[in-house]
Amino acid sequence: MAAHSAVLSASKIMNPFWVGRLGNTAKVFGTTLIRHRNKTSLTGENIPPPAKYGGRHTVTLIPGDGIGPELLNHVREVFRFTCVPVDFEMVNVNSALETDDDMNNAITAIRRNGVALKGNIETKHTLPASVKSRNNVLRTSLDLYANVMHCQSLPGVQTRHKNIDIMIIRENTEGEYSSLEHESVSGVVESLKIITRNNSIRIADYAFKLARERGRRRVTAVHKANIMKLGDGLFLQCCREVASGYPDITLDSMIVDNTTMQLVSKPQQFDVMVMPNLYGNVVSNVCAGLVGGPGLVPGANYGRDYAVFETATRNTGKSIAEKNIANPTAMLLASCLMLDHLNLNDYASLIRNAVLTTMNETRLHTADLGGQGTTSEVVQSVMRVIQSKGQFTAEL
């Protein structure tokens, strides 16, 4: 199979230790139809079986803080209405506590089910520095090494720039988010930015495979290697090595400050972008702003064994929580990405089309899009569109 030969060629570059462990990266994609959990005799790995019993999937649900709980309730409402064969196992994480028990429960639940849908968990600045960001802990514990965001201009949304179609692949586990800081001398703090060859090769390989699968022609590596010569230099070098195995795809590179400038003046020039963690944060937020704001773009975090879906810009939205004004689009589209991942593509397309159709109605736009619609109006409209397609549904 093509996937196996791609894995074998990649393994020539990598340390032999990683060959077995990376054997299944070829299969961990969002909307691909390949079942990501196929056990292969090639690697002999023990991937846990899918949490699917009696034809129904079980997915971990982490409401988080701010607008997370209400938006995820709407997702459940839409799923119930559409009779999607997914059951949610809800796990609450209290961000005010300093202990890790909540997080450990959540991580265990995700390991059990393999897939999760989450809202953002607030990271309080007031807690001591030893308490790490819970979202970060989740990503690193489950080794969700690739954060994928697809920014597309939506027809119903007015923006300054049109025809944007950018895929952003962000390294999700190391870089500036390694949470390694120390203050050896009072008033002088040193933070460690970690870039490893293995993780850089891994993310670059993911980016190129995804580009090839989606028929994309160009991958742009975003870096600051003129200043961080060793760190970002290593990242860039790894991208070039991986690129040599994909002659049909061009690799170019751009320094991060120039990238943000180009994004706000000529975003149509970008195709697929791959970058380390912090630049990924910046670039994905800028792109979300370009296509209409944080309420519109879904995000996905993929690892070898697990996948977690959330809104792309990962903000808690505390100031608009429980006011019925949050935009449910991002969370609903994230749940569609999750359905694609579970191979429930028909349900995914149905809900996605309903959401995009609703987006075309300007009078239903929520406050972030300059309208006055409420969250519940948008959700009701989505369900009405689903019902009008003749799908068997529960009561409205």
């Binding site: 600045h125 600051k224 991060v256 400050d257 120039n258 943000t260 400038m261 180009q262 994004l263 706000v264 003046s265 912090l278 944060n281 910046v282 937020n285 800028v286 979300a288 702003g289 370009l290 704001g293 944080p294 810009t313 990962r314 903000n315 972030d368």
Partner: protein, 160 residues
């Protein structure tokens, strides 16, 4: 990863009247800066974020060809510069846009306390650009650098 946002400051207000807001970089960059940058006044931040945000903002106002900057040190030591590249392809051909360097010089005059001169040159420059009659190629016109400069000088003469 924290920026301080300082709102509504004016030279006549005492320091404690300044409002400042702690902003997570995510909130600053994404939605507001790209969608509604006018809500920002002064931003202060560490080195890397400054690098990224300053180029992002330059992209919002028309690019590096019109963006001035200054580097201030202790005891009033300062270097003012334009941050665009050396543009070797148009060097020596009287085609470059002098706005970035000119506005950097205006910043320098302000730093030296020569506010009157600074105001005059700045108004002349902005009015010339606003007029759109004499613009260099990067701003959509086809005038030479010397013509653009001459237009600014003429305006300043007319002001007196």
């Amino acid at each position: 990863m924290v920026l301080y946002r300082v709102l509504s400051s004016s030279p006549n207000k005492p320091a404690n009247a300044l409002q400042s807001t702690l902003l997570n970089m995510q909130e600053t960059i994404r939605e507001p800066m790209v969608q509604d940058p006018t809500q920002f006044d002064v931003l202060v931040m560490p080195n890397l974020y400054g690098d990224i945000l300053s180029d992002l903002c330059a992209g919002l106002i028309g690019g590096l060809g019109v963006t001035p900057s200054g580097n201030i040190g202790a005891n009033g030591v300062a270097i003012f510069e334009s941050v665009h590249g050396t543009a070797p392809d148009i060097a020596g051909k009287d085609l470059a846009n002098p706005t970035a360097l000119l506005l950097s010089a205006v910043m320098m005059l302000r730093h030296m306390g020569l506010h009157g001169h600074a105001k005059k040159i700045e108004s002349a420059c902005f009015d010339t650009i606003r007029d759109r009659k004499v613009l260099t190629k990067d701003l959509g016109g086809n005038s030479k650098c010397s013509e653009f400069t001459e237009a600014i000088c003429q305006r300043m003469k007319d002001m007196d």
